[in-house]
Structure formats: C-alpha cells, structure tokens
Amino acid sequence: MKNLLNGLSTPKKLAAIALLLGVLALIIGNSNNRNKISVNANEIALSTINDQDKISVNTLADWLIKGNADFTLVDLRTEKEFNEYNIPTSVNIKMEELLSSNLRRNQKYLFYGSDDIASAQAWFILKSDGYKGVYILKGGMNSWKNQILYPERAAIITSDDSLKFEKIKEVSLHFGGTPGIQISGQTTNTAPTQINVPQVPKLSTPLGTTTKKKKEGC
C-alpha cells in the first residue's frame, strides 16, 4: 500500500483525493436546507418590547425631506395599491418574495403596509432569518395619510400648538397633502386647493425601481 502511494505522482494523489471527496459528496446528497432557520425567540421578544425597531411617520417624513437615504423603504401592499400611491422612494416587494428578493443583510429596510400587520410579519420573517436592519413604519400607510398628508388641528388652539401645526403643514404640503382645521367634526382645508374627499396626491417623485441585474459578481 505504501509503495503504491509513493509510486503515484502528486497530481495523481490529488486526483485520487478529489475523486474520494466526490464519491463522499454523492453519499451526503444535499449539503443544506436553506429554508430551515433557527430563531432566537428571546432576542426577538426583547426587541418587540423595547419598540426600538419602529419608526414614526414624522421621523420618516423628516428623513425624506433631508434626503437621508441610508435605508430602503419597502411597500408591502399590493401592486395596485402601490401604483395608486406610495411614499416617495419606496419599492414594492410582495411578502412571499421577501426572502428571495435579495435583500442585503447589511442594509437597513423600513417596511410599511396599510397598517402595522404586514410590516410586523415581514419584520418577524427577516429577523428570524438573521437580518439585522429591519424596521417598521409605525401605523403604516394609514398613519402616513392621517399625520402627513391630511393632518388636522382643532379649531381652537394655543399659539404654541399653532406654531407646531405650521411646521406639520409645511411637511404635509411638501408631500402634496392637504392639511385641514377641524370645526365641530368637519374639516376645512387650509391648503390652497380644495379637495373634499381625501384623494391621494399625484406621484411627483419617480418610483424607486428594483434593479433587474444586480451590481455584484463579475
């Protein structure tokens, strides 16, 4: 046996090792199951209690105005809803395509649906799969509409509140919304244009697009 090994040249020895490993691979079959994930339940429960992964719509509006772009805004609603109106710079990804849509583990993602439910589900799926930078837009699109696009203030307010509302109004107008004043249940618009039925503004900023080919690899 020893003589046989000594008689072989190095390339032949390496070839024999490769063949051996190849045969072993045949026996092993599949090396992993990529859909099986392990979850650290404690860690997930903790971050739920701390509320640290939730971003309010006001913070988001602030980021968008300042052009803060170290996160990707992801719309989880249907394509139809997304095309009707979406928060500027967002991209549309379906829930079932989350894990296969090449989200990067080292980037931040802010999710929103109509309310909190879809984004919370997406948050859980991605957190369980080891994604770190996953955030939820508190209240989702409903909050965005109520607080950013169509903010309302009570008819009688203090001057302090009035100043605050002026700020909110500016933000609202920036995103094409219509701020209003609440008078005994009814709302009067303070914006120049009168829109009775809350109608979503036209999209002025181009939609975020998902790139077809990734800029990775050679």
Binding site: G22, I27, I28, S31, N32, R34, R105, N106, K213
Partner: protein
C-alpha cells in the same frame, strides 16, 4: 459563518480592501500558472497545450469541493453566495463574443490585466481594447437593452434544474474533470508522438 460580508463581519470599506488583496492573489496565481502568456492561452484552442483546461478545471473542482463541504459542516450558507441570474440567449451570445476575442487576442479580460502588469505590450493593447469595448457597449446599451434583458430565468442552479442532489452534481463534475485531465494528458502525448513538437 460565511459569507463573511453578508453576515456583517466587515463593512463596505473593508470589503474593498479585501477585494484588492484577493485580486492581487488571483492575478499572482494566474501569472504563476503561465496565464500572462498569450501563446499558452491561445494554444488551448488548437489543442497543443491543455494547460488552460487543467488549471481551470482544477480551480473549479477545488472551489466546488470547498463550498460543498463548508456548507455541509455548517460554516457557509450557500444560498447567500451570489450567483449571476441566467439570461440564456444574451449570455450565449456574450459568451461567443468573448470566446472570439479570446482566440483572436489570446487573452480574456483578467489574463490581459496580468499580462499588462508583467510588461507585455500585447497585454497592454488588449487591455486598452477591452476598455474600448466596454465604452462601445455602454454607448449602444439603449439599443440592445431589450435583448440584454431577454430570456430571464432567474437564479438557475444545476441540482434544481436537473432535479438531482447537490452531491450528485459534485460527483459528476469531479468525474468530468478527472476524465478531462486524463484525456488532455493523453492528447498531448499523442500529438508529441506525431509531430515531435514539445508543448510551449
């Protein structure tokens, strides 16, 4: 757990430094393998020096066995390793164009850089030519964009495509490589007997 970059072991900046180091290592290995020489590379296409086939298949088998066993041990999540999406027809056409350029010029993009770095003029001119090609491609891209994105098949992997196990693919590729090595050695011997020509 690998891939290290996707598991946040280092950031974008550090990854660029690592990429440069790996790139230099790759270039060094190519040069030492004789791949900075257009004659050796082009000889592959005329079957009188099978070095390209041997080196490439060795690299493929080594990397494949490494990836397979690392995944099996649990060091690597193979599903996170980037693979280019398949766009069948445009990639076949692109492969043919690259192949024609390879036969004519004697280099592929990577080896032309190696050759240029060792001071060869043919390598340098090839290098300039390939940047000219990139420029032309960029300029005409709007015209060919539809074709470029045609026949998309997504992420296609052989085990899933053929419905066989991962290990089976590994085994078949190893057998194919060993067969190719044996055939290459034999072919070189036969050619030497007939022509008396020593491989370069």
């Amino acid at each position: 757990m690998m891939p290290l970059y996707k598991f946040n072991f280092f950031g974008m900046d550090a990854s660029l430094v690592i990429a440069v180091i790996i790139g230099i290592g790759f270039g060094f290995a190519l040069e030492r393998g004789g791949f900075g020489n257009a004659r050796i590379l082009a000889a592959q296409f005329y079957f009188y020096n099978m070095r390209v086939l041997k080196v490439m298949f060795t690299a493929i088998v080594t990397a494949m066995l490494g990836l397979f066993y690392f995944t099996w041990i649990g060091w690597l999540d193979l599903s996170l390793v980037y693979t280019t999406d398949t766009f069948l027809v445009p990639q076949i056409v692109g492969g043919l164009i690259l192949g024609i350029g390879f036969v004519i010029g004697g280099y592929c993009p990577g080896t032309s850089v190696v050759s240029a770095a060792t001071g060869r003029y043919d390598g340098m001119s090839f290098f300039v030519g390939f940047f000219f090609g990139v420029f032309v491609f960029g300029e005409i891209f709007p015209l060919i964009e539809n074709f470029y994105n045609s026949t998309p098949m997504g992420r296609v992997l052989l085990p899933e495509f053929f419905g066989i196990s991962h290990g089976m693919v590994v085994f078949l590729v190893v057998v194919m490589a060993l067969g190719a090595f044996a055939a290459a050695e034999w072919g070189e011997k036969v050619r030497f007997k007939i022509t008396g020509r020593v491989k370069e």
